[in-house]
């Protein structure tokens, strides 16, 4: 798929991370940070509940790209900035919009929209479409 054939925006990836998903992500990454699994602790830090890991949110953003562009998409670069926390069981919507590109390489703007419409994470990625072997 060349840049001229690529869509300008990808279908949004909508997730609503559960406590179980956060626990499993903490476990598989061996992350003992209590804000991700201990509601009382997280609330004591001033949050509205346990928080979704920034790396899990980055993985959701990357899923939006790879699922939208298909298995031939290779991510070359990805950078993001966390603007505000994301809370468990809140709906998160990941969106990607084409910035520009040339031949098989394209740049995308990516962001996370939270349930109140605010942006929770924003970033950009460079993607190369591989040729089918």
């Amino acid at each position: 798929m060349s840049i001229t054939e690529q869509p300008r925006a990808l279908p949004p990836l909508v997730v609503e991370p559960t406590e179980i998903q956060l626990f499993r992500f903490s476990a598989v990454t061996w992350n003992p940070h209590r804000v991700h699994f201990d509601d009382r602790h997280s609330t004591s830090e001033g949050h509205d509940g346990v928080l979704v890991h920034s790396h899990l949110r980055a993985a959701f953003a990357l899923r939006c790209l790879t699922e939208g562009l298909g298995h031939l998409a290779r991510i070359d670069e990805f950078s993001y900035r966390v603007v505000r926390p994301a809370v468990v069981r809140h709906r998160l919507e990941y969106r990607a919009e084409l910035i520009d590109g040339q031949d098989l390489t394209s740049r995308w703007r990516i962001w996370e929209e939270q349930r109140d419409g605010g942006v929770g994470l924003q970033g950009s990625a460079v993607v190369t479409m591989m040729k089918e072997s």
């Binding site: 997730v15 790396h55 900035r81």
Partner: protein
């Protein structure tokens, strides 16, 4: 900018001594089960194994997301919030949060790959904002295969803050 004697100020002084220190560690071999579990945890369907060597390819930010590769520190070495900090006892109650990352992916990470990490704390910067004082620390991690090939790198920013309610005291 940082109140003298505050947990954040203590942490900042400790962290400054770590700036520029390079840590290298052999993280061992990435196995397929670990990659499979990561897929499940992020809600992705399991990938098919490569037909040529039966290897499994990890999602792009797999290496960057792993918090500890080995057994990890004992509970008494963690700060109150579960985070590993230098001189944790001196800064118990400090709050930490990922603030962003820049990742470059050179080569897919496949099961069976031996991974070596080179990590350096690049900067530790005190800041002051609407939500009070904070310290932004930036660390560069480079993940290489056992033969030295660069697989990917990430420059990660973590923000540290005083314990909740500290500024109101």
């Amino acid at each position: 900018m940082l109140a003298a004697g505050s947990p954040l100020s203590l942490y900042y002084q400790h962290a400054l001594t770590d700036v520029g220190r390079v840590v290298e560690a052999n993280l061992g071999v990435v196995d397929a089960r670990w990659i499979e579990r990561f897929h499940v945890a992020i809600g992705m369907p399991l990938p098919r194994r490569c037909s040529s060597d039966d290897a499994m390819v990890a999602p792009a930010n797999f290496l960057a997301a792993i918090h500890h590769w080995g057994a990890g520190p004992g509970e008494d070495e963690l700060a109150l919030d579960g985070v590993v900090l230098p001189a944790a006892a001196a800064v118990r109650g400090l709050r930490s949060m990922g603030a962003g990352e820049e990742m470059t992916f050179i080569e897919p990470v496949r099961s069976g790959t031996e991974v070596v990490l080179r990590s350096v704390l690049e900067t530790v910067v005190p800041k002051s904002g609407r939500s009070g004082p904070s310290v932004f620390e930036t660390r560069l991690n480079e993940f290489r295969a056992g033969d030295g090939r660069l697989l990917n790198s990430n420059r990660k920013t973590i923000v540290r803050r005083n314990p909740h309610g500290w500024e109101e005291r």
